[in-house]
């Protein structure tokens, strides 16, 4: 009797649960899934599929009409290739110099244009952003003229006016990589400046009013107020800057072709040459996967080391 009463209670509870249970997928859910469907499909088709395809190709001797599986041979060849290590070193040096200087440079420029009124700020932002609007090819042609090794080159004319010897800017191992770095630093800051300006505009004025009462100097304001509050922006620029710098390709391709003596051959250029010059897609994919792992590891380290101190 007791048991049957218990059973009766259980059944009614179950019944209640059944009647109260919400459907697994509601109409609202369907709408949501449909809205993200396009983005997910784009992600699958243009990110995941190429990535998986690249991994598979990296294990093959690629041929358009039937590839041969070669296992890890492309990876082994990459690690045994002196040019790969040289291009990795060139890319690291390029990144280590260009990214911090670029961030510092754009931070200083953003600080300098902040005191101006909105209109003047826009003029400066537009001026610094202009190279980003110009085609990279057009930009390279201009820089090729600036770096022209003959006495008629712009920089060489400047050196001649200063009674200094002309330089073989892009043809000498001593100056070629530096020339590419200078080009990147001087012509690629527009976006960083705009992002820093937006971050600076987001700082509440009350901080500066309080520091003014305390008698803080401009540099103290920068050190103790501005710098900590734009740290998330700095981290963002650092991560995206390093990723972009590791993938640098066009400067070397257009300006030096990787020379002289492969001193400006970056990993991006090496991958391009293997894929499109020597038709070694498998090797190029293996190198691209290695580059992806390096970039992912460095980005992870940055978030781990610098990200913990960042407050959003």
């Amino acid at each position: 009797m007791t048991q049957s009463r218990h059973m009766g209670a259980d059944n009614s509870e179950k019944q209640n649960k059944i009647t109260r249970r919400e459907p697994l997928i509601t109409k609202d859910d369907i709408s949501g899934y449909l809205f993200v469907l396009v983005a997910v499909l784009f992600f699958l088709v243009f990110t995941i599929y190429p990535l998986v395809s690249a991994v598979i190709t990296s294990l093959q001797l690629y041929k358009p009409f039937g590839s041969d599986f070669v296992g890890a041979k492309n990876y082994i060849n990459t690690f045994q290739n002196a040019l790969f290590w040289k291009s990795l070193r060139n890319t690291l040096v390029y990144t280590a110099i260009v990214v911090p200087i670029s961030i510092l440079f754009s931070f200083v420029i953003a600080l300098m244009i902040m005191p101006f009124n909105r209109k003047l700020q826009s003029v400066f932002k537009a001026a610094y952003y202009l190279p980003a609007v110009a085609s990279g090819i057009a930009l390279s042609v201009v820089w090729l003229w600036i770096y022209d090794s003959s006495p008629s080159g712009l920089f060489n004319q400047l050196l001649t006016a200063l009674h200094l010897p002309v330089q073989n800017w892009l043809g000498s191992s001593k100056t070629a990589l530096l020339s590419l770095m200078l080009m990147a630093i001087l012509s690629g800051q527009g976006q960083n400046i705009i992002i820093y300006t937006a971050a600076l505009l987001g700082i509440d004025n009350t901080y500066f009013e309080a520091s003014q009462l305390d008698g803080a100097t401009f540099l103290q304001n920068v050190r103790y107020i501005v710098f900590p509050l734009v740290r998330p922006t700095t981290l963002f620029l650092l991560v995206t800057g390093i990723i972009g710098s590791f993938q640098v390709f066009m400067n070397a391709y257009m300006m030096t072709g990787g020379g002289p003596n492969n001193n400006t051959t970056m990993i991006g250029l090496l991958i391009f040459n293997n894929a499109f010059k020597y038709n070694k897609y498998g090797l190029a994919c293996a190198q691209a996967i290695i580059l992806t792992i390096i970039i992912a590891f460095i980005s992870f380290l940055q978030f781990k080391l610098a990200g913990s101190e960042v407050e959003y």
Binding site: K27, S31, F65, S149, L170, G259, P260, N261, A275, F276
Partner: protein
């Protein structure tokens, strides 16, 4: 209602996106960038008459990708496509025009995707790469033997790897030196004798020494970037290196002749008779036209046309002449020879190569051969040969060339070019696709970068030679290299 509209819009966007990915392979070659839009012959395939002279009479479209081989090559190709369609009504030629800058990259990308054009213009040195990846087609399997008999064997050998022929030669270019005839004579050079009999390296050094005065260099060679390879290829003949492989199929750039050549280059760069900075390809002839250089390289016979055009522009004073240029007389010159070396000339063959793609069937490839021969022979080849001041490489071109040839060519230049063409030696027979591809990579990854350092004075001839030998041993094995 709003929700239905949202769903409909999402569905539309999704379908549109996927539709973009669903282009059939057959349309692949038609999707081209601005400068590579296909130009189809005027008559559509729908108007094709029955009973054509092509292989089976079924309609077929053949894609051809070409850079501007001559200034008006794109226009000419359109004309020839129409002509071809008239002759073979069931066949249509679809032309993809490219620029010299992007031609090889575009071809490589299309070939790797299995969407190569059926025919593409290609230098013989690049064929090995496409043979290795299985996209180049051995034309002897599909082409009538009579068509192949039209061509000089020497020129056909360039298109042949490991016994298989992958295309038809269009022309043999000869690359040597050019100069300002008046300045050369003022420097004591007997131009006519040099053109007729050649000259020694010592005579050449004396000439460039005498020609170096003030702002004028005795000798300028385009050496900036990848053009550094031209220096090796063209001046290789000076030291007796005519090809990357000898008749025993051993890699020659690792031999002592290479060291002799590198030492000569080192000597010339240090002498001050050449600029000590990188010279862009476009600057070399300009320097000669402005009086800043006496001899320049690389030079080809067709430069006579460019210089005459500039002379005419100076006379016309219409502003189209090279800035600060002077009227000059062009002299085409052989490269000098070192002791114990007989004169030869660096030559390269460009031709029309047949490719396999996703659409290829035996029937289609037979039609491709018809188009390949049509474009590489007769009046089409003669037109190119005349425009480039070169001799034909097939009999039907030589028969037709008189109607295109310019009558005002300098006889000394013409005779010199004719003489040097006969001195070009074809690559050795039996060379494999892998050897060809490895030699091309050696040039790009080792020789050119080292050469740039040598020209910049940052390495020595001996160090560069050692680096080449080391890399050659890795690439071809000790048995595969000349190590004398």
């Amino acid at each position: 209602m709003k929700r239905r509209l949202s769903v409909a819009l999402i569905g539309f966007v999704t379908v549109s996106m996927l539709a973009g990915c669903g282009q059939s392979a057959s349309n692949g070659t038609s999707a081209s960038s601005e400068n590579s839009e296909p130009v189809t012959s005027a008559a559509s395939t729908a108007e094709v008459a029955a009973g054509s002279s092509a292989s089976s009479g079924a309609t077929d479209t053949i894609t051809v990708m070409v850079p501007p081989v001559t200034n008006d090559y794109a226009d000419k190709m359109t004309e020839w496509a129409d002509e071809f369609h008239t002759k073979y009504p069931n066949l249509t030629l679809e032309v993809i025009n490219t620029s010299w800058d992007d031609h090889n990259t575009k071809l490589s990308t299309m070939a790797q995707a299995g969407e190569a054009p059926d025919i593409a213009e290609l230098s013989y040195s690049n064929i090995g790469t496409y043979v290795s990846n299985g996209t180049a087609v051995d034309i002897t399997k599909y082409m009538d033997a009579d068509m192949l008999k039209d061509y000089d064997q020497n020129a056909l050998d360039y298109m042949t790897l490991d016994g298989a022929t992958y295309g038809l030669p269009l022309y043999i270019t000869i690359q040597a030196l050019g100069g300002n005839k008046d300045m050369l004579e003022a420097a004591g050079v007997d131009v006519a004798k040099v053109q007729a009999d050649g000259w020694t390296y010592d005579q050449f050094l004396s000439a460039i020494k005498a020609g170096t005065k003030g702002d004028t260099f005795g000798f300028v060679f385009a050496n900036s970037g990848v053009t550094a390879s031209d220096f090796i290829n063209i001046f290789g003949a000076t030291a007796g290196i005519t090809n990357a492989f000898d008749s025993n199929l051993k890699y020659t750039y690792s031999g002592k002749k290479m060291l002799t050549l590198l030492q000569a280059i080192e000597n010339m760069t240090k002498s001050g008779y050449m600029p000590n900075y990188g010279v862009e390809a476009s600057q070399r002839m300009v320097m000669c036209e402005t009086g800043n250089a006496m001899i320049f390289g690389k030079a080809m016979p067709l430069f006579e046309n460019s210089i005459k055009k500039n002379n005419a522009a100076i006379d016309a004073s219409d502003g189209s002449a090279v800035e600060d240029s002077k009227k000059i007389t062009y002299a085409f010159l052989p490269v000098p020879t070192m002791d114990g070396v007989s004169e030869s000339c660096f030559g390269t063959v460009d031709g029309m190569v047949a490719f396999k793609n996703n659409n290829s069937t035996d029937e289609h490839l037979k039609n491709v051969m018809t188009a390949l021969y049509f474009l590489s022979s007769g009046e089409r080849a003669a037109y190119v040969d005349a425009a480039t001041c070169l001799n034909g490489v097939c009999q039907t071109s030589r028969d037709a060339i008189s109607q295109f040839e310019s009558t005002d060519r300098d006889q000394g230049n013409k005779d010199c070019a004719d003489r040097l063409i006969s001195e070009v030696s074809a690559p050795p027979t039996g060379m494999t696709a892998d050897q060809s591809a490895a030699a091309a990579q050696m040039m790009d990854e080792v020789i050119v970068p080292q050469m740039q350092a040598l020209l910049a004075g940052e390495t020595t001839a001996q160090d560069m030679y050692d680096a080449i030998v080391s890399a050659a041993k890795d690439a071809f094995g000790e048995d595969g290299c000349v190590l004398d």
